[in-house]
Structure formats: C-alpha cells, structure tokens
C-alpha cells in the first residue's frame, strides 16, 4: 500500500499503462505542464500539448484509436467536452457498431468535472448523465485514490470507449491553483472529503472492474446511492442519520454506465428505501435511471432523489444549496422514514 493523492493515483496508473504499452499516449490542453512528471519520464511526444481545438483533438483521438494506438485524450473541463460532443456521440460511440463489431475504438477521454469550489454554471458541471446516455460509451467517476488508479487502468485496458471523469474537488492540483499555496486565504478543507482526496493505493496497481459498485458503509434502514463526491456527501449524511438512530448504507456506483443494477436491487431489497444522490442534473440522468432499475426489477422500495435542478449558481451560498449537500440528503431520507 502506498499513500497517494487522487491526482497522483490517476497519473501513476497512466504512467504504468504507458510504461507497459508504447501505444498508450496522452494529449490535451496544457498537459505537459499539468502532467510534468510524465513528461520527464516519457518525453514530450507521448505527453503532447494541443491547441484550444477540442473538436479536432477529440476526433483525432478517435482516429488514433482506430489506427492502433490507445490514446488518453484529456479535456481540461468536461464542460468543454461539449465542444467536441460529435466526436464522442457520432464517432467514438458509433464506429464499432458501424463496423459490425470488427473495429473497436479503444479511446479514453479524461475530463475534470464537478463543483463545490465556486466556478459557476459553465465550469463545474458533472454531465455524466448526458455522456452515459449514448450506447457504446462507458462513464466512470472514482471517489477514492485507489479507485482513481484502478479505474484508469481498466479504462485503458478495455477496448470500449471510456469517459473517465476526474472530480476537481478530490483532485488536488486544480484546487491548489485556486487556493492552497496560491492564496492561503482560501481553505477548501471543510468541503473536501479527506478520504477521497488522499488514501492508500495497492501496489502493484490493479484495475477496478468497470460497472462494479462498492458498498462504502453498510446499513439496514435506508440505502444512499451515489457516485464521485456525492458518495462522500452520503457518508456525511449517514453520520447525521446514525445520530438519530437510523442505519444508512452508502453505495458507491463508481461507473455511471454500465450501472451495477444487481447491487442497487440488492440494496433496495435489504433496506426498502433508496435515496439516489447525484451532482448531475435531475432530468434524464442517473437518478431517473436508478428509479427505472428499481421499477423494472419489481423491488418494493420507496424512493427519493437529490440532484441538481437548476443552472449551478456562482455565489457560494447559492451553489451549496443547488448541489446535493448532506442537509438535502438527510431531509430526503427523513421523508422516507
């Protein structure tokens, strides 16, 4: 076991994959500066800066993957991936099907996502619901350094298209630009879940299976289901509920697609109450998918959801209310008890 930060764990896995397989390479905006340790290890050709041309360099990732490489294309923020939406939805997701299954696209799109640190509605979205809605796209968002490494290895190893979302609240580098040693006057400490930002990572690194969830806390009265930072907000809410004598389980989905349907059904069967918690939008996304899973399975369970229902406001007080904070989760849970 080695103690690593979330960002270190991702780059450790990427470095490991690059060392094992020369076909693995990465490009994106500013990546040479952001992943300077990889530049020092592999040189500037396998870690390559791009112009601000998302549509072109994500499409180029699709072409490179079809040409035999295993690119990890980095998009600075997932909000900017919308500029290259066609590369994902119309190309990466489609081409294996169009080839009759003969021509896979082993592409990883790595993008930073998520909020809680005050960047406004155009720079801190989650968007994983939209990303996961297209057939042929796997979407993951780790909540711990161990999974950050494991999911990156799995994302590179699979022949499927994977969108790998790196949550900015857990990834120290981005927060360090906006606080930390840039300005000691800002402390994100209260908002950053410490177990998510740094923790033990097993050596040698092992892939985390795509589509498999993990139970972060067991409980018998109610099941809280989430992904990314939402998992940590659920753990906070579970503590509050425990003080009131309520035993809450917390399920970390890790993958938005494929969804671990079996684990969700089992949790609903055990507790009879599910609260789906999502940092993404409420419409057409993960929380509705979880509800559909329960209905389809015919499991008898009451259900509430806590998700983002508006543009994410910039002002911190408004932002906190718009995101799935522990108070909102506890209130939703109480409605079911």
């Amino acid at each position: 076991m080695t103690e690593m930060t979330y960002g270190q764990a991702i780059d450790a896995a990427l470095g490991e994959a690059m060392a094992r397989d020369e076909r693995v390479l990465t490009w994106g905006e500013d990546v040479q500066l952001i992943h300077r340790d990889l530049v020092a290890r592999f040189g500037p050709t396998r870690v390559r800066d791009t112009p601000i041309s998302e549509a072109a360099f994500v499409y180029a990732g699709v072409g490179a993957a079809m040409g035999g490489l295993r690119p990890v294309v980095e998009v600075m923020l997932v909000d900017f991936l919308t500029v290259a939406w066609s590369a994902l939805v119309n190309a990466a997701a489609k081409f294996r099907d169009f080839s009759g299954g003969r021509w896979p696209v082993p592409l990883v799109i790595r993008a930073r996502c998520g909020g809680w640190y005050g960047d406004g509605g155009q720079h801190e979205q989650a968007l994983w619901g939209s990303l996961a809605s297209t057939p042929g796209v796997t979407v993951v968002c780790p909540s711990t350094p161990a999974d950050a490494a494991g999911l990156m290895l799995a994302a590179i190893e699979t022949d499927d298209v994977v969108v790998y979302l790196e949550h900015k609240l857990l990834s120290e580098r981005f927060l360090d630009y906006l606080g930390g040693s840039s300005r000691p006057t800002i402390d994100f400490g209260d908002l950053v879940p410490s177990e998510g930002a740094s923790g033990p990572v097993r050596q040698p690194l092992e892939p985390t299976p795509l589509g498999s969830s993990v139970l972060r806390r067991s409980g018998s009265d109610i099941g809280l289901v989430s992904v990314g930072v939402g998992v940590h907000r659920c753990l906070q809410a579970a503590e509050v509920l425990a003080e009131a004598g309520v035993s809450a389980a917390v399920l970390d989905l890790r993958s938005i697609h494929p969804l671990d349907v079996q684990a969700i059904r089992d949790l609903a069967a055990e507790t009879g109450r599910i609260v789906a918690v999502d940092e993404d939008y409420i419409r057409g996304g993960l929380t509705g998918e979880i509800a559909a899973t329960l209905l389809t399975a015919g499991v008898s369970s009451s259900y509430r959801r806590v998700a983002v229902e508006s543009t994410i406001p910039f002002a911190p007080a408004l932002e906190y209310q718009a995101l799935p904070n522990p108070e909102r989760i506890v209130a939703a849970a109480r409605e079911l008890l």
């Binding site: 340790d37 500037p44 549509a55 640190y117 005050g118 155009q122 300005r183 543009t311 910039f314 002002a315």
Partner: protein, 339 residues
C-alpha cells in the same frame, strides 16, 4: 483605461485575500484594446467577450460596485450571484461574456444578424485571444460573417499564450493569413497604444456600419498576470525556491523511473519544461514599454495625468468599499478594499 486597471488590481487583490471564489482572469495589459475599440461604439452596438470580461464591462460603463459584488460571489451582484467573472453580462450595455473559448466570435455573428434587421447601422464586436484562432468555431464564425457580409468587427488580442502553452508551439503559420483568405481586412496594431487601436477600430467599425462587411483588428499585447490568478507557472516565477521544492521530487521520480522512455525522451521532456518556464519568465513581467496605461498617460500633460489617476482611484476605491460593505461579512468592515 486607468479605471479598468484599478478595477483589475482591486479584484486581483480581492482574489488573493479570498474574497473571490474560484478563478479570476485579469485583463491587465489589454486595457487599451477595450477602450480603443469600445470608444467607437454606440449604445445600439453589441459586444461579446471572453473570460477576461472585467475590462470591457467597465469600459461600457457598467456599475463598478455591482460588478465587484458579482465577482465576489454575492446575490446582490450585477447578475444576482449567478454568473461570476467568466459569465458576466449586462443587457442594457449589450455585453455578454462567455468562458467557452471562441464562442464570442459566433455570438457576435448572431448579434450582427439581429442588428442588421432591428437596428440598422449598428455593429457587433467580438473579443477573443489568438489561441481562439485555433478553434474551429472562430473560423466558422468568420466565414459566416464574410459570406453574409455582416457588420462584425472581430478583435483578436494576441498575448502569445494559450492558457499556459505558448501559442507558437501549437499554431501553424501566421493565423492572420487565415482571416485574409476569407477576403476580410485585417488591421494589425500595437494593443498597448490606444490611439492606434482607436484609429484602426474606427475604420473597421465605420466600414461595417456602411454595410461593407466584417473585418478583423489584430492587436498585440502582453499578459503579465499569467492565465489566471494562481497560475502555476506564475507561481514558480514568483516563488522559485518554494515551488522548486514542491516540483522537484515528482520530476526526479519521473526521470529516474526504471520504466519509461529512453534517455533521449527524458532529456527532451526536461528541456520542454525548462523552455516553457524560460519563455514565461521572459513574457510575464510588466514591461513599461508595453504598458497601455503608462503609454496612454503620456498623451496628456503630467498634471492632467495625475488628476485622472487621482479621480479614478477615488472612484474605484469608493466602489470597492461599497462592494466589500455589501458583502456583509461579519469579520470584515467596509473600507478594506483600497487598491
């Protein structure tokens, strides 16, 4: 220009002191471009800007206190706390900011279509950086403006940096040639010289008003404040010893790793990083000769310059005081926002 510079200084300091959530991209070094261009516009003209939006909004006369309160993340701000500095907008001033690189060019195209139908004679202006000239969106927008002969003036602010990548490393040829190929006039000016900017912008605006179609003003400038406050390269330049202590272990681990590229790859990797830092060290200092404020104030007698500076300082400080007061933070009283 002086007012913009002071507002930027107040907000940069407010960021450092923890008043501004998230990021802050200052437009220090670009003041003359905003003032020179916007000085040619009327109330009916529309303006689309990028993530460095403080300057153009101040130049369009938006209330300083409301702007500052918005950037500091309060519901009483210009956009009721919903926007923050990257997404500021003001309907009366017809200014919209957007943090998606290159979108301003296309938004201005649409504003120009509306202007031609609803406000004949009005124009739309887009501000963006030279890094945006590598975004397909900008090239598509310029082509559209050209074939529709729209009243748009595209203003490219060339500060030589795309985020923290030197633009020359990721750009083929002279990007102005791409604009030229669309049959659109391109006027290149020194962006720190407000007289040059104003004159060249005037020609393009006038041309657009007369229905002669779009044009580009290509203004060179420098970006002494890095990409944003907290820019990692800027931090290394300002605190080399402390930052080296942070960076060295990871770099050494990379270089010494038993697996990875061969010796040549690793040497090239280190050389790339060193070159980046050297270029930033050269570019990211306030160079008096390229400071639009210093150059601008030289146009007036010394006493007048001093009077302008004093008046603007009083105005901006008063706005900052009101803004800090409006925050109503229990541990902060009014009057701490002096520039």
């Amino acid at each position: 220009m002086v007012r913009i510079r002071l507002a930027e200084q107040v907000l940069s300091r407010a960021w450092a002191e923890g008043y501004v959530p998230g990021e802050y991209h200052s437009g220090i070094g670009e003041e003359a471009i905003y003032v020179g261009v916007l000085g040619q516009l009327d109330n009916d003209d529309a303006v689309a800007v990028d993530h460095r939006s403080t300057g153009p909004l101040v130049a369009r006369g938006v209330d300083l206190t409301a702007l500052m309160v918005e950037v500091m993340g309060r519901q009483t701000g210009l956009n009721s706390g919903w926007a923050g500095h990257m997404h500021l907008m003001d309907r009366e001033a017809r200014v919209v900011a957007d943090g998606i690189v290159g979108s301003s060019a296309a938004l201005a195209v649409g504003q120009a279509v509306a202007a031609r139908q609803l406000r004949p004679g009005a124009v739309a202006v887009a501000f963006f950086g030279e890094g945006a000239l590598n975004a397909g969106l900008v090239l598509e927008a310029m082509n559209l403006a050209a074939v529709w002969e729209l009243p748009v003036v595209f203003v490219c602010k060339d500060n030589e940096w795309s985020i923290t990548t030197h633009t020359s490393d990721v750009t083929a040829g002279d990007p102005r040639a791409r604009v030229d190929a669309l049959g659109m006039p391109v006027h290149t000016v020194h962006g720190e010289r407000v007289d040059q900017v104003h004159h060249a912008a005037g020609r393009l605006v006038e041309r657009a008003r007369r229905g002669k179609g779009p044009g580009m003003l290509y203004a060179t400038c420098h970006r002494p404040g890095g990409h944003f406050e907290g820019d990692p390269l800027l931090r290394i330049l300002r605190h080399p010893r402390a930052e080296a202590g942070q960076l060295a272990p990871g770099l050494m681990e990379g270089v010494r790793s038993p697996t990875g590229g061969d010796r040549r790859d690793r040497a090239a990797g280190l050389a790339t990083l060193a070159a980046r830092l050297t270029t930033a060290a050269r570019d990211w200092v306030v160079r008096p000769g390229r400071d639009p404020i210093r150059r601008g104030l030289r146009h007036v007698p010394k006493e007048v310059a001093e009077e302008i500076e004093e008046d603007e300082r009083r105005r901006v400080v008063a706005a900052a005081r009101r803004a800090v007061h409006a925050l109503e933070w229990p541990d902060r009283g009014a009057g701490e926002g002096d520039a």
